[in-house]
Amino acid sequence: MEFDPFLLARLQFAANISFHILFPTITIGLCWVLFYFRLRYTFSGDKAWEYAYFFWVKIFALSFALGVVSGITMSFQFGTNWPGFMERAGNIAGPLLGYEVLTAFFLEASFLGIMLFGKNRVSNRLHLVSCALVAVGTSFSAFWILSLNSWMQTPTGFRLEDGVFFVDSWWEAIFNPSFPYRLAHMLNASLLTAAFLIMGVSAWRARRQVDGPATWKVMRTGALMAAVLAPLQVWIGDLHGLNTLEHQPAKIAAMEGIWETEKGAPLTLFGFPDEEAKTNHMAITIPHGASLILTHDWNGEIQGLNEFGDDIPPVAPVFWSFRVMVGVGMLMVLVGWWAAWGLFRRRDENRDNQIWLLRALSVMTFSGWVAVLAGWYVTEIGRQPWIVSGLLRTSEVVADHSSATVMGTLFGYVLLYAFLLVSYIAALRYMATKPARSLTLTPQQRAMKAERIDDESAQGEA
């Protein structure tokens, strides 16, 4: 069977970027959480916060390493798989990536050393500063890469000469129309992913009866984050959607499964989009729903997919990914509120009383991953058939490799990534089963001010 090398190149890139994004999503958010743990310890002297830091910094280090190595892969694949992209859009994409390396990668990679292993080599203040610098670095990194991605979605500030992009205004290119929304949406998604991860692992520890005071403090931190940030995310997502409607109407039409342009378009809750017949099968709809959500007007007009001829994205994957993202997002709002209510109002650290909440939180451990991946599929598949919206087609920039070559390497990558993902989750599980060090904290110790207590009697890890 002969496979289309173009499709294979896209699959390979999709496999790499999907694997990659899992880890930055965790680290961007988790890093700020770690900084918070360190701050709490510095100000309160409560050792539980320090243990929380030590426990989570290990998971951070592991996630960071996976993010770095899979990120290096990305920087090469622009060239190996999509040489035409850099030849045509390099004048704009290049500097943005360059600034990411110069302002973010070195900063985070360098100070990570101190953050992880430098606790006893530098002052507490410098260690705090290092944590903050790593966090700033990861967020800078998100800034530049999302700016580039947004420019590919909503290009501005350029001129085209013989098919090559030249920059007219860096300000307009960097702060292109979809960038503020995408940046806010992604940073918030990272914080939410981290919130559900720390709650999930803590809940799991509580159910396995290896929890200590620190475990519950961490869980409450996560609950507070989720209760505030999950509804915020719904709001940001709505704004982002309105922005997409303005600039990429075909993507919205695919997300909503709207084929014909109409006023008062219905919202399709469920259905099977059929690209051949240009309709949805077994659709369950709410009349006027799509118009109301997207234009905030009962009879607002929404452009249908048929307006765009052949230049439409694959409809079903976009349609379904969108529903997965929204569904998980709504679940996150509910569970976030439940957790905040259960953990703050009752302040009950008894695992038997909280068992249903703990179960729910364990199930939701990796919910952030699911929502983030689904969200990225919406926006990236939704951009097709373009690599730069409306201007440059993905098929124009693909490298000329034989399908056997791409197939072989794709197979290799997928095997490697599957192996690493299993190892990652197994390692997380292993770390989560060690009894909490904060178990050994006595009430006096917990109240004691700063300074390290020689803790020879402590069993296991934090």
Binding site: S70, F76, I92, L102, I114, L116, G118, K119, F166, A427
Partner: protein, 332 residues
């Protein structure tokens, strides 16, 4: 001043510098990865501790090198990376395995530690051999014919030898006791093969590439170039001397070996730059033909002159914080 002339030159220099720093810095940690199977269990921990705080930033230099290729020379970026598709893919897989093993070996539980140590070494080997292959193919202009492939194969073997020497020399700085003795032993074993490889490559390069041969052997250039092989030879002699002098080694001057290797790498880069210049892909694309638009280069230029010195400063600072002999890596 003609920016269209100077900016590509500046970025070619910056790219060369980034890749040179990469070879030295990630070279020593890949080298330690290659040496890992020959150490006993406790020594393995110390060896990893000797590179633990640094490897991440070390690896970032290759991202910068490739980044500059992409930013400043987009035409070459596509050509180079598509031609090197296979070795690049292998190298990436090697770097992935190596990078994650750092963390997994201590976090996945003791019963998996041996497996991750093994993958650490295997990843380092794949990455360094592929990098040698890439370098060899690049130097000969990415033509891929039989002689050039043989040449690339030669470099594929030489680069791990260099990395082993860098790794052993780094261990002279960071370790003591039995492991230090082992490092000396490893260095003594590897130094001759490394020298032989370098000599072979120096002989083979002008044979494989007529363009390079012309640049090397025409007068008066040939005379002007003489300091490079002479200085390289001296540095190499110095390296052998350090590894064989117990007096130097045991009085804490082991870092001289690392210094000799740095000198050799710098000289080799100068030679390489001279051989390629003004082409970025030998015989096919000059740095000016491959360069991106001047306004794009200028935008990145300012970022580079501001951030690169800062990066060098805090890199130096990190090395200062973690100076001295490596002890157990502890998060606490």
């Amino acid at each position: 001043m003609d920016l269209g002339y100077w900016l590509p030159l500046f970025f070619a220099g910056a790219m060369g510098l980034a890749l040179l720093i990469y070879v030295v810095l990630d070279g020593y940690d890949l080298g330690i990865g290659l040496l890992l199977p020959f150490a006993d269990e406790d020594e393995k921990d110390v060896m990893v501790a000797a590179i633990g705080p640094f490897w991440d930033a070390n690896e970032t230099w290759i991202v910068l090198g490739v980044g500059i290729l992409l930013i400043a020379f987009p035409q070459a970026h596509g050509l180079v990376l598509t031609s090197l598709y296979l070795p690049v893919t292998l190298m990436l897989m090697g770097l992935i395995l190596r990078g994650v093993s750092f963390d997994f070996r201590v976090k996945a539980g003791d019963k998996h530690k041996a497996k991750w140590n093994m993958l650490f070494a295997v990843g380092s080997l794949i990455a360094s051999v592929s990098q040698g292959w890439m370098l060899g193919a690049f130097v000969t202009g990415l033509t891929g014919d039989a002689t050039n492939t043989l040449f690339a194969f030669l470099i594929a073997l030489a680069l791990p030898a260099l990395y082993i020497m860098l790794g052993a020399s780094w261990l002279l700085i960071k370790t003591e006791g039995a492991l230090f003795k082992k490092a000396v032993h490893w260095g003594r074993l590897a130094v001759l093969p490394m020298g032989a490889f370098l000599l072979l490559i120096s002989i083979a390069t002008p044979l494989v590439s007529a363009t390079i041969a012309e640049k090397w052997f025409t007068l008066p250039n040939a005379i002007g170039l003489m300091p490079i092989p002479i200085a390289t030879g001296l540095a190499y002699a110095g390296l052998i001397w350090v590894f064989n002098s117990n007096r130097i080694l045991h009085n804490g001057y082991g870092w001289l070996a690392f210094l000799s290797l740095i000198v050799m790498c710098v000289l080799a880069s100068i030679g390489l730059a001279y051989s390629l210049f003004p082409d970025i892909v030998l015989g096919r694309l000059s740095i000016w033909e491959a360069a991106s638009a001047t306004e794009s280069l200028l935008f990145t230029f300012w970022g580079t002159v501001i951030t690169l010195p800062m990066i060098l400063c805090y890199t130096f600072f990190i090395y200062r914080v973690f100076r001295g002999k490596a002890t157990d890596l502890s998060y606490e």
